[in-house]
């Protein structure tokens, strides 16, 4: 035993500094990914290239009215899901492997800031993607919806970031770092095609389209834009919420066991 009678106290963390820690983590997570071309280029450029190619060049003169709106919703849902899915899917797997997560766990990083900063990063990227897609839609994509409607649709679609992050987190928690990117890509493209974002489905694939989160998000977006939609908005929201909760719970189980 030493002579010192009292364990020196650690100064308390004021609430305002905790908030600042969350914001600073979100800021640096976004900055570093904007500076990582392997992440930022595909996430930002792919939806724009695809939308420009399929929605404007290929669709040509037939791209009017309902078709123009369909293409806009399809590619925007696709674009919005990307940052969360890849941001969590690849990064969590890689950082688990690299020891970055271990280092962060040793630091007094606020609980939840690791995930919250990635969620905020995904939002920042998703908003950037949406701004560009809406810009293309109204200038070249023959989308004639009123501005207020477009903003409402964008707000609804931005909710898709959350289930996208959950899907990504699930992949990142279970996939090995070396193959996480492949799993994320297959899941991303698979969900987009199988939920009928880009072209109508038929037969068995049509019957199981509601299995994919992207389907529910696109139906919500269509409903919010006054477009023809399937199902009840509340059901879509409930499915997206349920998918999120289940995948996050499964991921949390894996991550807390092994770090």
């Amino acid at each position: 035993m030493t002579a010192s009678p009292i364990t020196p106290a650690v100064p308390a963390m004021p609430f305002s500094r905790t908030v600042r820690a969350y914001l600073s983590d979100a800021k640096y997570e976004s900055i570093r990914l904007f500076r990582t071309p392997a992440f930022s280029v595909p996430i930002l450029a792919m939806p724009i290239l695809f939308y420009s190619f399929f929605g404007i060049v290929l669709a040509g003169k037939s791209n009017i009215g309902q078709l123009a709106n369909n293409l806009f919703v399809g590619w925007t849902v696709y674009g919005v899901m990307g940052p969360g899915l890849f941001g969590f899917g690849i990064l969590v797997a890689v950082e688990r492997n690299q020891g970055l997560l271990t280092f962060k766990r040793a630091l007094p990083m606020p609980t939840g800031s690791y995930l919250a900063s990635k969620l905020m990063m995904a939002y920042v990227f998703a908003v950037a993607v949406m701004i560009m897609l809406v810009g293309i839609a109204v200038t070249m994509g023959h989308v004639t919806l009123p501005a207020a409607t477009l903003i409402r649709m964008a707000a609804v679609m931005s909710l898709g970031v959350i289930p996208a992050c959950a899907v990504g987190l699930f992949i990142g928690a279970y996939a090995p770092a070396s193959s996480a990117a492949a799993f994320a890509n297959i899941t991303y493209l698979g969900m987009a095609f199988l939920s009928g974002l880009f072209f109508p489905l038929s037969g068995f694939l049509h019957d199981i389209r509601s299995a994919w989160p992207t389907y529910h998000l696109s139906q919500l977006a269509r409903a919010s834009g006054g477009m023809k939609s399937e199902g009840e908005p509340l059901v879509h929201v409930a499915v997206l919420a349920a998918v999120t909760v289940v995948l996050v719970a499964l991921a949390a189980r894996k991550l807390s066991r092994k770090g």
Binding site: A12, M13, A21, R32, L100
Partner: protein, 300 residues
Amino acid sequence: MVAEGDGALARLTGAKKRYGATVALDGLDLEVRPGELLALLGPNGAGKTTAIGILLGLQEPDAGEARLFGRSPHDLAARRGVGVMMQEVMLPDALRVGDLISQVRAYYPDPLGFDEAVALAGVEKLVQRPYVKLSGGQKRQVQFALAICGRPRLLFLDEPTTGLDVTARETMWATLKRVVKDGASIVLTTHYIEEAEALADRVVVMAKGRRIAGGTVREIRSLVVRKRIDCVTAVELSAIEAWPDVIAVSREGERTAITANDAEGVVRRLLAADKTLADLEVRRAGLADAFAELTQEPAE
């Protein structure tokens, strides 16, 4: 049992940990007292890194208990008093050094000023550089900056000077001395004996997950009773070998080297046997010798 008021900043009590068939910790007791630099010495696989990992809450002990500031290491409030430099860590490549320091500073209630942290760690010239562009030694310096930037009361440094050049190592040593002088405690693992001799207030020698010796550098050295006698003498080697307490004798050129437990007795006999004896020298084993001897398992 750990009471809040016993003065230890960090404490392991009877900590055991195995990885499969490998025993990493075998009932380790360890305490870190206020204002001291504690060096953990031991060969690879001695359990030094595991001990730190458990104190930081990165691993769970199979048995025993870890306390940080009298709390569980999982308690965020406890870790706010701690700075860490781990052996293997990858930091986000795309961030600049300044970004990394700002980000880690934000986790602490009362961090060092940005410029102060940068200057203390000696990384002024690196602030604008992306982390990925740094050399191995520069990365270690930046990791050191991250460890101290939160003004921690307790620093865990796992082999901090590995890979540093001489100047960088001296800068780090000077900073460590200053950090301790300012009242913080440091736990340092190292392979460099001279690092422990230069810096440590207290040394704990570990082998195979156990503490095999502990004390000041001087105390550790004195645990090793062997001494080495060098001289120029005409006495036959075979005669010296037969004396009590002589462990080994060798002759190189004209110098004779004798390893003995009771140096005084051997010297007395030498002087009596040889009036021409010259160049007598008696040395206590250095920490390096002590360390090598202590970590050798007698059974092996």
